[in-house]
Symmetry: C2
Subunit: 367 residues, 2 copies
Amino acid sequence: MERLQNSAEAQQYTLYADNSCPNKQESTGGFVLVHAGAGYHSESKAKEYKLACKRACQQAVDQLKAGGLAVEAVAAALVELEDSPFTNAGMGSNLNLSGEIECDASIMDGKSLHYGAVGAISGIKNPVLVANRLLSEAQKGKLSAGRIPPCFLVGRGARDWAISHGVPPCPSEKMATKFSLSAYKRNKRKMEVAEKIDTGLHRTKKSRQSSGNAAHYGCGCWAENACNMNTYSTAVSTSGCGEHLIRTMLARECSATMQSEDAHQALLEAMQNKFISSPFLANEDRVLGGVIVLRCCRFPEPQLSPNDRGPLVEFLWSHTTESMCVGYMSVQDSKAKTHISRLPPGTVPGRSLAIEGGVCRLKSMVD
Amino acid sequence: MERLQNSAEAQQYTLYADNSCPNKQESTGGFVLVHAGAGYHSESKAKEYKLACKRACQQAVDQLKAGGLAVEAVAAALVELEDSPFTNAGMGSNLNLSGEIECDASIMDGKSLHYGAVGAISGIKNPVLVANRLLSEAQKGKLSAGRIPPCFLVGRGARDWAISHGVPPCPSEKMATKFSLSAYKRNKRKMEVAEKIDTGLHRTKKSRQSSGNAAHYGCGCWAENACNMNTYSTAVSTSGCGEHLIRTMLARECSATMQSEDAHQALLEAMQNKFISSPFLANEDRVLGGVIVLRCCRFPEPQLSPNDRGPLVEFLWSHTTESMCVGYMSVQDSKAKTHISRLPPGTVPGRSLAIEGGVCRLKSMVD
């Protein structure tokens, strides 16, 4: 959260629910995994980061218990994370060079493989609701005169579309918090000092930069249900340096690797070979990002007794940043677990990684 | 070009030069392949489409002969295509719902694997120059205070960045042509008629839509030089329905498939299995797009005599749209060849495909 950013794109804090029942009434099972960013989480604010994750998990589980679909649960959790002033999304996002707040958000449905995203959107409290609305509008089929519905909108056009589709506007100044404003001033000062030290031969231009980075398809999130080709349903969300996530297509790469037998080993290799040592980032001295991953096998294991045959969910996170805050919860849990994962002492952020995770047996969804 | 579009993003018309010499002075070899869109090209304007491709090839070859790098040749060709009022890029782009011109452009360097892109940019005559500038700025390394340079900018921020980096602004009204204005009026009328026919229960909102579609990483263009993992250097550019190109990541998929032995068969299968029949577009009745592909083997074939050992370039195009206009030229050619490929009579656009191509032996670059 504290690191200097060169734009104010708000990284999305995505959550995934494993909820593959086709029938709403049956879909009472489910598991959610969220993150509150890969970056640096100070000990002094640890409680707030964890609380945001806990609340997000609870929102998603409430949706699932009420028969909501996975994307509805995801959106509910993301609203909670965007509303927290401690996450770099929605309320309290980092400001851009011009002192404005511009946000990104994306959401993907593993069943229909539909995708909705907004980039560099201003004046909307919950960008994820716009991304989700784009996704649901696209699922309705073509627009008038055979036009194909958009899946990705940016800037002023994204804001206008949102408002015309009933998403309420929010004055931009209400989205800045004392934390985000003081971080902006601190970072701006750092930049000015660095530029004074510079020889003056290469003056950096202080222009506005509207970036729509995390919202890039395949980079910020991915979800793909099991099918003929895929043994596992997978869901991935990333966080970190937008340029690094884009150029390695980290979310999609991690999702693809999750079809291997050993999830932990596969994610470790992906983070090492497709991220830290990626040929697409050969000249970067530090590669900064993190990922949360869920997977669930479509086949119940035949050796188990019928009572134990709920699906097995494997959940993992890995990051090269100093820390990553995560939360997770199944529908059968009474409350969410949260955790701030940190790189081991003595390791170098951007060159080393941490990886952790667990498994959860869901109760059968047709009990 | 005539088809109704639901936004005015200007698809980029990318060209690729095979030019893998590390030393500028040696880089006198090369081959360029361009397209002027996959869509519908009327017979009445065939000459103009072909002329734009011819000029673009010539510009690129001139750059290569003068010792320019591949990306410089690509940018020069693209400026020519953007300046043509007959292509849906730059000057004469389709207008968006609000009657404005917003353009996309992206460029990728197969050697450094750097990438630059702009989305929904207004008031800039040649968006490719901004994409190229983003790419070249990123290659210089970090900005002041350790900030990572952006690779993708959108909307007003992209325009402001461009102007502050010396790219001249251009009044938006100068970018519309009589063709683009009459197409806008015609399409708007079609839409209004379609909405009147509609029951009125689901009125389509007439909001602005700023989409940054073709500029999505992996969707509009891809370039990757041969390396330990890849036998072939590949370069791909796509055109067509932005949403279809994004959700199938068509450029990257086609590039990856080009490592197979039989390029023609590989592209045919990719267009069939990863595009027309893609699970990501399962509910689309028509999948509309086209692709141009270049590949070049890094190993000279040992059975040939030294005089014949210039690299062999394979070039292909394939499309599901009614037509696609292409042009190609090697540095040793006196002029470019151009061609409008059309689906065979009786086939259905969006469900069938055309595929064509050729090979070219370049003269050795160290003669």
